[in-house]
Subunit: 369 residues, 2 copies
DNA sequence: CCGGCGGTTGCATACGTATGCAATCGTTTT
DNA sequence: AAAACGATTGCATACGTATGCAACCGCCGG
């Protein structure tokens, strides 16, 4: 516990407490010689400004709350992508001199107001509340709500959002597969209104097709909740439909991992028989077998933009929702379509497999990020 | 910003500010009828206690700092295991009514004192400071340092540590391989003084051997820093040594993933030719190919123990360092040793591989955690 | 010589809460 | 009936800082 107060530092420095406060906060009112002396003594005595008093007097907390949606009741782990975002956001906030109050919460009505009413935080960043965008938009309409949400950015919508350009992400992923010669490309992911992000990825998928005058049948779309198991089940349904797909674009990396496992179980091998592209670029995707071609979201950039946007909001500046550009990372799960593969849409016994293919493939680049 | 104060609630409720404060904090001095009325009004007006004032007056912050070592300058991502720990710790703190202040920091001398001097936090939990255990032990000697570190627990050492029982973890992993008939088991991991955790895992590895009267040669140990690449390089060295190992116990899951990739590149297949066991049970290890047999550290339990230990410390109670029991999770990367494999220690062309083995193996349990 | 001005400093105060102490009131004990 | 007691409430204050305002000092221009 700190027993040293600004008053004691003042006494030691032969000045008043006011001057100590001003010196520490970098006020131009203080003579540089005085400031130097005060800082030296404060440092010697290991003095730190008492945050309680500072917050009370200044009515500022220099703290941002980071709310991460906790869906652990659904048995699923926290999405690794969010964990990467947490680190990025925290570092960005630290750079700006702000602390991060971390919380994993179930959804409830009054968080934002609570954080600000109690002066625990000056603003809130929300992560993983895709299912609650409607409510968040409502919150966003309140002028005094300092809240930025990582999520779908929709033109003209109320509220403040920062998100990945999912349409473009879906586009480059699909375009990559089209460029490899694939013409029957499945889409694995939820395209319902519940998941605007995934809808956008699907929309990019359609856009890439339309550019080439193609019109993918709805049969090629398989709904999956954004987990590994979701991808697994969706891929099974897809195989049973026998639509002749030679590639699959999955709305998330976890979907992709699940789909690859389902394909393998049915003796459909990636990338020999089918190419797979994911979305997110989770850390471990470079380690998967085969290493996953995917669309990377730049979490470090996202962290900076989220924090800067929120601080603008806090300062009363005008703020616009922002889209961040994703990037295609080509690894080993996607390759040129083979004529024979076009014919093979269902499982059958095969001798080749992922393992051998790795060796047969051109020397794989080791992507350890 | 909260314009509602306890005084205003008091006026509305027809009581004094003191009574409001007491009612909100659950003091037994308040009549239950009065308390009810105060709570109702406070709720209606969406009143929240101003944390600044509360902290100043009570000299408590009801906040714990969570310091995560940032080694991003070394190009490596944050260890996924720590990310899992962060979530667990935060949830445990929330249950106890404490907020978590999250920070990713380079190592510096004065954190703990700084957090407490400024009354930002009542205590500190440190994650990922394996390389600084000596310094942390010194800190631990200070009576007023409220700090618990996730790390190696060593009998009689000063300071407060909570950690996994790495010796036992190493033991059960190795014992599992021995039970499968393996007799030449490699150890991949750093056994230098820098990494007491890994030393402990190695010690468990030796203990399992000694129980059967075996004495693994030092040739079977390959040093690796705890990354995927470290495991990759160590495995390559191991293969070149041609010591005839049929199994490998890796100090971390990332090491294991890297090693499996290196083996595959040399046409040594897991688990056909060699069994591999990891350590940590990262979320994605169930998705790896083959799904990794590993030693799980229960992060949820770790979070609870860390928080409870720290709170005990804050309250001035006696505290003992605690070891948490790890658990062996058997998946597909380990299997009974084959006579022929004993002879084959170097790479040679093979037709079988992980993919086919998955199908040949007894129906693999899908472990999605 | 005086008024004034820029550069520094100190004084006094308020931020909103938690808590020791005194006060009040109704009830029980002697 | 007086006294004592328990339950409940209000009063008054201090926590440590940030900041408006006044004060002070040295110097310049008039």
């Amino acid at each position: 516990m700190n027993r040293v107060t600004a008053g004691e530092i003042a006494e030691l420095a032969g000045v008043s407490q006011s001057t100590v406060s001003r010196a520490l906060r970098g006020s131009p009112l203080v003579n540089s010689k005085t400031r130097e002396r005060v800082l030296r003594i404060a440092n010697e005595k290991n003095y730190k400004v008492n945050t309680g008093a500072s917050r009370l007097r200044s009515r500022q907390s220099r703290t941002l709350a980071l709310l991460v949606h906790d869906d652990s009741e659904m048995g699923s782990d926290i999405n690794p992508f969010f964990l990467s975002m947490i680190a990025a956001i925290t570092k960005a906030a630290t750079e700006k001199g702000y602390d991060i109050l971390l919380s994993f919460q179930q959804f409830s009505e009054n968080w934002i107001a609570d954080y600000e009413n109690s002066n625990k935080a000056e603003g809130v960043i929300m992560l993983g509340y895709g299912g609650y965008t409607d409510y968040i938009r409502k919150i966003g309409m309140l002028d005094n709500a300092h809240c930025v949400t990582w999520g779908p950015v929709i033109d003209g919508q109320p509220g403040h959002f920062v998100g990945c350009d999912n349409v473009h992400g879906g586009y480059i992923a699909t375009r990559h597969l089209l460029d490899l010669g694939h013409r029957k490309i499945a889409f694995i992911g939820d395209v319902s209104d519940d998941c605007p992000e995934f809808q956008a990825r699907y929309s990019g998928y359609r856009k890439a097709h339309e550019e080439l005058g193609l019109d993918p049948t709805p049969q090629l779309q398989a709904t999956a909740n954004p987990s590994e198991l979701g991808g697994y089940e969706a891929a099974e349904r897809l195989i049973d439909r026998a639509v002749g797909h030679t590639a699959a674009f999955c709305a998330t990396d976890l979907n992709a991992i699940g789909a690859i496992r389902a394909f393998r179980n049915r003796n459909v091998h990636v990338p020999a028989d089918i190419s797979v592209v994911g979305f997110d670029d989770l850390v471990s995707m470079a380690y998967a077998t085969p290493a996953l071609t995917t669309v990377r979201q730049d979490t470090a950039a996202a962290g900076h933009v989220l924090v800067e946007t929120l601080l603008d909001l806090v300062r009363g500046n005008d703020v616009v929702s922002r889209l961040l550009p994703p990037e295609l990372i080509v690894r080993q799960s996607s390759r040129q379509v083979r004529a024979e593969a076009m014919a093979k849409s269902r499982a059958g016994p095969r001798l080749t497999d992922a393992g051998r293919l790795d060796n047969a493939a051109p020397k794989a680049r080791f992507n350890s990020r």
